[in-house]
């Protein structure tokens, strides 16, 4: 019987069926659900959330060295964090099969860039496997482990948002247990001294050459023969789009193993058609190599390297077919994502929006939304952990330029453990004029509420020793740690002032759990406006709450959305807003 699975669920299922034993990941859209699915196989599969992608990759590599099939997964930018262990794991090779899943996000639905991680496979000299639907996500996992072990290399398994987050029908299989390889010390293979690395490099080249030879007859790469007019080389989700767009009779070379490319197979395929297209989302990864091999083809001169494709975009770019769209006389206004009603981050960012002239260096997570109007209280966001260290760079530069100004560096709790701790050390070590602020909502919020080293639970639902952020900060050298409920605006403002004026290194922890954490019973209520008291000054609108609007020149609160956090009530100058129980 077939079941409907997302690509991510199918990847987890495929790893399970392939006999995977040990898995580690850091959550990141669109990869997160792979590891939310794995606990279903508890007992047969160990899985965990790691503090970051580098740790997850090192951990999964360790599991491979210890002799079992292992898995790690991350979003595309997560692989930047994990690049260091990945590049050298390619030289050391594997013992148990080792698969690294990278989920790219064309169109940046939930990301800061749209990097094409296929280049990592070529760069790091890894096998690259790209599924195009959920059935392939599952089936290709098994082949990924086989290739990893047969060619002694980690396999990069690359999806995109539409592969990971679309659902399609999948025929399930049975788990095949893989006997662990008995552990033995192998210094020559597993210790990357320069001498060993020197000897490992030719091994990598030899394995890649053998893999390329295999790729020409690998079942993941297949030809759908047409009438010989048009041929399309394609892979991943672009295959599905191309199938909708090209005319009947088109030949397809559908690739699943895309590094190394099966150049002989491509050459043969090209010779069998009059016109050759290469259709791929984002960069011309395959096209560049195909053209370099002297095979003429049409690709990126027609198909944009920006944003995700769909059949209509592809049809328009390739064949100039304009979509039939009716122009409406009305236009929708922006509906950007916003901090939820009752979000604990709102109190901090509102406070900083009133703290004119301060510099706030932000980070990746729900609290990136502190940059959205009307709060507009963030100066920079760059990457995970950057909240502290970008802030340190700005503060030190201001100092070098002879200006004294405190910078507030902001990270979340999960981000603190991910890569905020090193920035916190930088601030102390090099005496940067930065107040680190940890917005501790006890969970990894934006990706959908995953546990982290501070949350007290593991991925498998077991109770963990929650690491206290204040203890870490204290250990690093912060002498004054102000722990504050950000929803108490007076206390929040006082903490910001105290930290700013502190003579000793000070840090702030804004502590209040995310309202969407299901295991906590939240004491929600409802705020109501007394329209007789309301003077229509719109002060409450400055907190940027989606539940608030102005109706007939008076403040109005949507009872469906409001949770009674009272941040709006605290800013009302005439006391027109009060809280009642829901």
């Amino acid at each position: 019987m077939k079941v409907l699975l997302s690509g991510n669920e199918a990847i987890a299922r495929g790893a399970y069926e392939a006999g995977v034993k040990v898995c580690s990941a850091y959550p990141g859209t669109p990869s997160t659900e792979i590891f939310e699915e794995l606990p279903k196989f508890k007992g047969e599969v160990y899985c965990e959330w790691a503090p970051n992608e580098k740790v997850a990759t090192e951990f999964a590599y360790g599991a491979s060295v210890a002799g079992v099939r292992s898995l790690c997964a991350m979003k595309h930018v997560g692989l930047n964090v994990a690049a260091d262990p990945m590049f050298t794991a390619a030289y050391n090779g594997v013992t148990g099969g080792f698969v690294i899943v990278t989920a790219d996000d064309p169109s940046m639905h939930s990301s800061q860039n749209e990097q094409d991680n296929r280049y990592y496979a070529k760069f790091a000299k890894l096998a690259l496997i790209e599924p195009s639907d959920s059935q392939e996500c599952k089936d290709f996992m098994k082949e990924a482990y086989r290739i990893s072990e047969a060619y002694d290399m980690p396999v990069l398994f690359r999806t995109t948002t539409r592969v990971s987050h679309s659902k399609s029908l999948v025929e399930l299989g049975e788990r095949e247990e893989k006997e662990p390889t008995p552990y033995q010390r192998n210094i020559r293979k597993n210790v990357c001294t320069p001498a060993n690395a020197y000897a490992n490099h030719p091994k990598v080249e030899k394995n890649l050459a053998a893999l390329e030879e295999y790729s020409n007859r690998c079942p993941l790469n297949r030809v759908e023969k047409g009438d010989g007019e048009i041929g399309v080389v394609t892979a991943s989700i672009a295959y599905q789009y191309a199938k909708e767009v090209f005319p009947e009779g088109t030949s397809f070379l559908k690739l699943g193993l895309t590094n190394p490319l099966p150049m002989e197979l491509i050459r043969e395929f090209a010779a069998s058609v009059k016109t050759l297209y290469v259709v791929e989302e984002l960069e011309g990864f395959m096209e560049e190599q195909i053209k370099a091999a002297g095979i003429p083809c049409i690709g990126k001169e027609k198909v944009s390297n920006m944003y995700e494709l769909n059949p209509q975009r592809l049809r328009q770019m390739l064949f100039g077919v304009e979509p039939e769209v009716k122009e409406l006389p009305v236009h929708a206004v922006a509906r950007p994502p916003a901090l939820c009603p009752g979000c604990p981050h709102r109190g901090f960012f509102y406070t900083m929006s009133k703290h004119k002239g301060s510099i706030v260096t932000g980070d990746i997570g729900c609290y990136t939304l502190g940059a959205a109007a009307p709060l507009s209280a963030v100066d920079t966001v760059l990457c995970m952990g950057g909240g502290f260290s970008v802030g340190a760079g700005i503060a030190k530069t201001l100092e070098v330029l002879g200006r004294k100004k405190k910078v507030f560096g902001v990270v979340g709790d999960s981000t603190f453990f991910h890569s905020g701790m090193t920035g916190a050390a930088e601030i102390i070590y090099n005496k940067a004029n930065v107040v680190p602020v940890v917005l501790d909502n006890h969970i990894t919020g934006m990706t959908g509420h995953q546990d982290n080293p501070g949350s007290g639970y593991t991925l498998l639902g077991e109770v963990a020793d929650a690491i206290a952020i204040e203890d870490v900060l204290k250990g690093i050298g912060y002498e004054k740690i102000l722990i504050v409920d950000p929803q108490d605006l007076k206390a929040m403002d006082a903490a910001v002032r105290e930290a700013e004026e502190s003579e000793v290194p000070a840090a702030i922890i804004c502590r209040r759990p995310c309202l969407l954490i299901k295991r906590i019973k939240h004491e929600t209520g409802l705020c109501v406006v007394d329209t007789d008291k309301c003077i229509g000054c719109k002060m409450c609108q400055k907190v940027g709450c989606p539940a608030l609007s102005i109706v007939n020149k008076k403040s109005s609160i949507d009872p469906i959305q409001c949770v009674g956090c009272t941040v709006c009530a605290q800013v009302c100058p005439v006391g027109a807003i009060s809280r009642k129980e829901k």
């Binding site: 939930s110 639907d133 987050h165 399609s168 029908l169 509906r335 950007p336």
Partner: protein, 190 residues
Amino acid sequence: MKKSVILVGVGGQGAILTAKILINGVMKKGYDVKMSEVHGMSQRGGSVSTQVHFGDKVYSPVIGKGEADILVAYEKMEAVRYAEFLKPDGIAIINDYAMPSAATAAGLCEYPEGCLEAMQANFNCHVLKASDIAMQLGSAKCMNVVLFGAMTKVIGLDDIDWETVIRETVPPKFIDLNLRAYEAGREAVL
């Protein structure tokens, strides 16, 4: 045969559950089916869309402009936003309900007037007060299934036993509420 349905609204309005019911139904009929949804940042009060495509054989899990047969909008301004995805002869099923966006709530711009009228002037539209109907049934949350009931009626997917599908899809304690919502939706577009 291939049909494309696009369900649009604001994060948290329940498009994914509706999509699940639709998929479970068409799967019973033996159709091939693909669905696409968006997770992450845009779920935080942002505009969201979920797509369902079913037919004899479905390749792409997403469509572009001018390619949807049916648009189901949980909020009327979102109907306008995604109208460009609808085929010129496509059908729109719209909840007559306005939800301010973070931008309008902050007073940065005005919620547009005339959303329903613009949709009705250009498309085959079925407008119902699904949020009010849901409230009368006891929970604003079942608005999604009210619209779903209306959709099954409008597009004539009547050879599928939707009541059984709903029973099998929604959590047990919400079966009765959702069955009533489904019926109320069908009646609202008589």
